[in-house]
Subunit: 341 residues, 2 copies
DNA sequence: TTGAAAGCGCTAACAA
DNA sequence: TTGTTAGCGCTTTCAA
């Protein structure tokens, strides 16, 4: 007859050790022999034991929390509620954190002081950190100080990560545009150091090369304003552009605004494919055809991993990126009026 | 010499009572005489005592949490990360809940089963509930069962609430459009039972009446699709409309899409003013002129009130609603090309 | 290396 | 009405 919720006492009893020993192996602190570690771990899995975070917090005096880290030049944390991507990671995290009395701590760290802030967070971490948006070197730095971390963007090897196929997604976007008949496909990329941006850029480059098209690239910042300005500039430099691949929906929304303001029409004069499938895609006018990232699932998986004691070194998990067709890309071979509405 | 963090023991000692008595008065449960209550309360304020939520949670076996309630016909909680308004209330709540080891619990309750779900939540509540979106009767129902609640939308008298001037905001929006030279100003309203929607509708009606304009109203649902459809219908019925007041930005984004799709231009043919100033306003094309609601501050204030033991019966707090000028409304008296870009 | 025992700060029986 | 006393589930000295 199993209890509703096994406690560490149950684990200790089943393993035939003291509570203290059980605690030691569960927390991975030295002071327990290999054979006992074995037995305790067996008991843990057999019982499906999950530590009570409330009790831990009371005993240690420290808050149990998952630290969500995003490096950004915008200051404060208040604006994050208006950020389509961050809102989705929060929404993904919240339900899994709910049952265990853990908290979410949101850190917006500035690029210039990032190193120090990262160290600070790493030294105060309890359950671990989720990197919502970070550069590989910073991620590595954190990981060197604290093993409990999982990244939602690509990082270098030892750092565990949730992987979405950004390269493949970008290629697919360009392919789609190509199939629709477009041959002058420009791109607006994200920040030079952002791993997602780097991969999406790589995907674009690969596809254009393979298809024998010119590389028409502009740099953006993953913000709407940047997308707007980049589109404007692109249109001036290359007035013959007939399609645009934009590395995130927020920038794509800005790009649509710029294109429309320039007197051109989307998708009649230029087709656009975005990336993310955020609320921005749906609020844009016309609504954006885009590559969907399963952000909520990625975040939820990351949190579960952390609650389970942190993923193993180098752990990686794949997530699909899927084309969502809306109204911002048009089939050139179809009748003008028809489009793909 | 004051301790870093006073405990209930300190309070009890200072008040000259037992810990149990202190606990009783702090938790407002019967079993303490008036004079002792006095003394304990004095000690609490003198020490600046704040209960340790972690210890409370461990002792009671219940999670300390703020329940965020939104009644909606969409099921599940995952999509809330893509909801511009909810994301903002979450962002406002998160920082204040951070320091105290409290959690946020998000409840999306369905309208048909709302009564039961509300009862359920009320009976499990700990720190209290924030009504992000609710009808007055449901709010009252909750409040009858549990005094710890703050509404972010208008409610009937005893229920404490954060008040934004939705009526005044809607009036101001219509006035603004009127000043710009518009005389056929239609409106897309929100759900019939939603207090914010009701107030914004009232503001529109008041303003149009005062200004001697026709009431050109259509019903929406606070979702993009509803805004789209309502705009379409409005344009068919009243092709001479020159401006639109839309009760939320999400619907306004949909309305812009519908208007554009019908071959008209925003703001050249029809001006639009939205409400909220959410991310939807900024992603729309053109970006929306809108009435800004300080959602984050309202949410943060609500949470602080709850953490401080819950606001008094009938407590009310005012928040401003401000016009934010972007590009979706045009001055008819200005030159055609100029607009108000 | 292991276990016994003392808390962490609070609530809730139970006695008085 | 009041206080005494066990816990809540865990970590962490301190002895053994």
């Amino acid at each position: 007859m199993s209890m509703l919720k096994p406690t560490i006492e149950d684990v200790a009893q089943l393993a035939g050790v003291s509570r203290a020993t059980a605690s030691r192996v569960i927390n991975d602190v030295p002071g327990a022999s290999a054979p006992l570690r074995e037995r305790v771990r067996a008991a843990v899995t057999e019982l499906g034991y999950q530590p009570n975070e409330t009790a831990r917090a009371l005993a240690t005096g420290r808050q149990r929390a998952i630290d969500v880290i995003v490096v950004t030049s915008r200051s404060g944390v208040g604006w994050l509620g208006t950020h389509p991507y961050i809102s989705r990671v929060l929404a993904g995290l919240m339900p899994v954190v709910q049952g265990v009395n853990a908290q979410l701590r949101l850190h917006a760290v500035s690029p210039d002081t990032a190193a120090d802030e990262i160290d600070e967070i790493a030294s105060n971490t309890t359950l671990g950190a989720v990197f919502a948006d970070i550069t590989p070197d910073l991620a590595a730095r954190f990981y060197r100080r604290c093993r409990h971390a999982v990244s939602m963007v690509r990082t270098d090897s030892p750092v565990p990560g949730m992987q979405a196929d950004n390269i493949g997604g970008a290629e697919e976007a360009v392919n789609y545009l190509y199939q629709l008949g477009h041959r002058r496909i420009a791109a607006i990329h994200g920040p030079a150091l952002n791993p997602c941006a780097i991969d999406r850029r790589a995907g674009y480059l690969q596809a254009t090369q393979r298809l024998g098209m010119a590389d028409l690239s502009a740099d953006g910042d993953f913000l709407r304003e940047g997308g707007h300005d980049a589109a404007q500039q692109l249109l001036e430099q290359h007035p013959d552009i007939d399609a645009l691949f934009v590395a995130c929906d927020l920038m794509a929304a800005g790009a649509v605004q710029a294109i429309t303001a320039s007197g051109r029409r989307v998708p009649d004069d230029v087709s656009i494919v975005g990336f993310d499938d955020s609320i921005a895609a749906v609020c844009s006018n016309p609504p954006l055809t885009t590559m969907r990232l399963p952000v909520e699932e990625m975040a939820a998986t990351a949190a579960r991993l952390l609650l389970a004691g942190g993923p193993a070194r180098g752990h990686r998990q794949q997530f699909p990126v899927e084309l969502v067709v809306r109204e911002s890309a048009r089939d050139l071979s179809a009748g003008r009026a028809g489009g793909n509405r």
